[in-house]
């Protein structure tokens, strides 16, 4: 008798992805759906997708979804989570969304230790709008708005938002991963799961930054795009755990004390 070894996760809708060939979003969507299935939280999860390519994430991930204005996903998610602390709330945001137009919202949500899980998909360009320079674009990288390559004194330096968020006391878990190889994909899934677990344990703000590939706007083949991530992008954005204070009991106690003081 044939044994089924691969199937569509329950939290993934039976729709064909609109993403370009070789794009990382479809992989990340699937990982999210697998994690939601494995944690058994499909019926209490609410997602907030961004403006950008993943604006249609609700066509694929089968949970309640509420759209946010560009950059404001974390603020919208804060409103949902504070109103219904029993729900598991995640945001799904690109680099332009979270690290440019939504920087303020993100830093302050992290600093308040909002019990949210942020999925930050970093592909170094504004994909949906046609490949303009993002805050995360590498030095020297050519985009439609950085002709001849990103120049620091003209265009600024690549922004490492995850490092910035790690400084905030309210952030508990921040990891940077990639989806370029089976090994990296497995690590990414583990990280997403942990980010959800941190929220379920009521510990504070969690974020997974996922280096993703945008072959179309990078003007590379899907395989070369993965290679570019592994050889070039990781130089500016090294993979690995950036912050993990989930075991720091005294910090947790301090936050809980603050919570009691409020009421």
């Amino acid at each position: 008798m044939a044994k089924q070894v691969f199937t569509r996760p329950k939290a993934l809708k039976d729709n064909i992805f609109h993403y370009c060939p070789g794009c990382g979003h479809s992989i990340i969507h699937r990982l999210l759906a697998e994690v939601i299935d494995e944690l058994g939280i499909r019926d209490k999860t609410v997602g907030v997708p961004p403006a950008g390519c993943a604006v249609l994430a609700y066509n694929y991930i089968d949970v309640d979804m509420g759209e946010a204005p560009h950059g404001r996903a974390i603020a919208v998610a804060t409103g949902i989570k504070r109103t219904r602390p029993d729900l598991i709330v995640f945001t799904y945001q690109g680099d332009g969304d979270i690290a440019a137009i939504g920087t303020a919202e993100t830093i302050h949500a992290a600093n308040r230790g909002e019990r949210l899980s942020a999925i930050f998909v970093n592909n170094g360009v504004y994909g949906m709008t046609g490949g303009q320079m993002a805050p995360t674009t590498l030095l020297g990288q050519t985009t439609t708005t950085s002709p001849g390559g990103r120049l620091p004194l003209r265009d600024g330096f690549p922004l490492d938002l995850s490092q910035m968020l790690a400084v905030a006391d309210g952030s508990v878990y921040i990891e940077r991963t990639a989806v370029t190889s089976p090994k990296n994909i497995i690590k990414t899934k583990r990280a997403i799961k942990k980010a959800f677990q941190v929220q379920m344990d009521d510990l504070g703000f969690a974020l997974v930054e996922i280096l993703s590939q945008c072959p179309i706007n990078w003007k590379l083949s899907p395989v070369d795009a993965c290679k570019w991530v592994e050889e070039e992008v990781v130089k500016s954005y090294p993979l690995g755990v950036i912050k993990d204070t989930t075991q720091a009991q005294n910090r947790m106690d301090r936050m809980k004390r603050g919570k009691r003081a409020k009421t």
């Binding site: 019926d43 609410v46 604006v55 089968d62 409103g79 949902i80």
Partner: protein, 355 residues
Amino acid sequence: MTKQLMRGSHAIAEAATRAGCRFYAGYPITPQNELPEYMSVRFAQLEDATFVQAESELAAINMVMGASMAGVRAMTSSSSPGISLKQEGISYMAGMELPAVIVNIMRGGPGLGNIAPSQQDYLQATKGGGHGGYRTIVLAPCSGQELVTLTIKAFDLADAYRSPVILLGDGLMGQMMEPVIFPDPIDPAALPKKDWTLDGARGRDSRLIASLHLDPTEMEQFNWKLARKYAAICERETEHESYLLDDAVVAVVAFGTAARIAKGAVNRVRKAGLKAGLFRPITLWPFPGKELRDLTRTIKSLLVFEMNFGQMVEDVKLSVGEQARVHFHGRPGGIIPTPHDIGAAITKLIHRYGL
């Protein structure tokens, strides 16, 4: 309930709490800081209420958006420059048909302007304010007690029409103290259930709340739906006050603080034997245009008085057409005009036209 002498912004906050509001997010800006301050203390007393001091006006309105998605009665407040920042969120909420109450305690403008009472945001409030051709219901209170009743009404209208509602006051309304009486609090659990909120897809299909309509046909259908909703609001929800209009030869048309001062002016000129009255729109959108037009059967001279350089006067002219002469008197700088000033304007009008 006993009377309490209360500051306007506190009265709004207490009324919101009693209306079942359980989420407030805001950012400091004068002259409305007393409102979030009161909310922070009041909500700390409640198990089921959340107060967030947001990092920006943008964050505040978007937190309110999220809370509204989750089904709770939610509110934010600000003053003119802050309301400009909130317009993005208000447009999205109109597009997602999300209820919320937004309080604008107006100050002088444009730009940073000043913190004195002003009515410079009439057009912004009544014509949509942000992008995309939406409307918000706009309520304009003119006394402490009306701050209470209209705050509660704002939440009811927001839920009934799934629409952002703006409570439009100014520094004078926000800072002035008057005796107010509050109704008993509403238990949020007793409010009608909403069947569209995001609360986890338990035993049902997953839901989506979004303003994106990539298909132009879908977009058009949605906008026609909004148009029908707005038409229904215009049909049903206009509210105004008539004061001493039965025998009047001149009607002052004014809202909010300006109407309050104009009422004093009407009383003054009445003592001198001049027949003036006041027409006060309470809903600015929908504008009580039909009621105003009806008035022109007997009154042929209208004096629009606003604390700006002429905004509502456009709606007045649209409403009455050629049926009456429409005059305008304005104070746009934040100087609070006195009943004497407006009384003089009324008197001049009556003498000029031999009314």
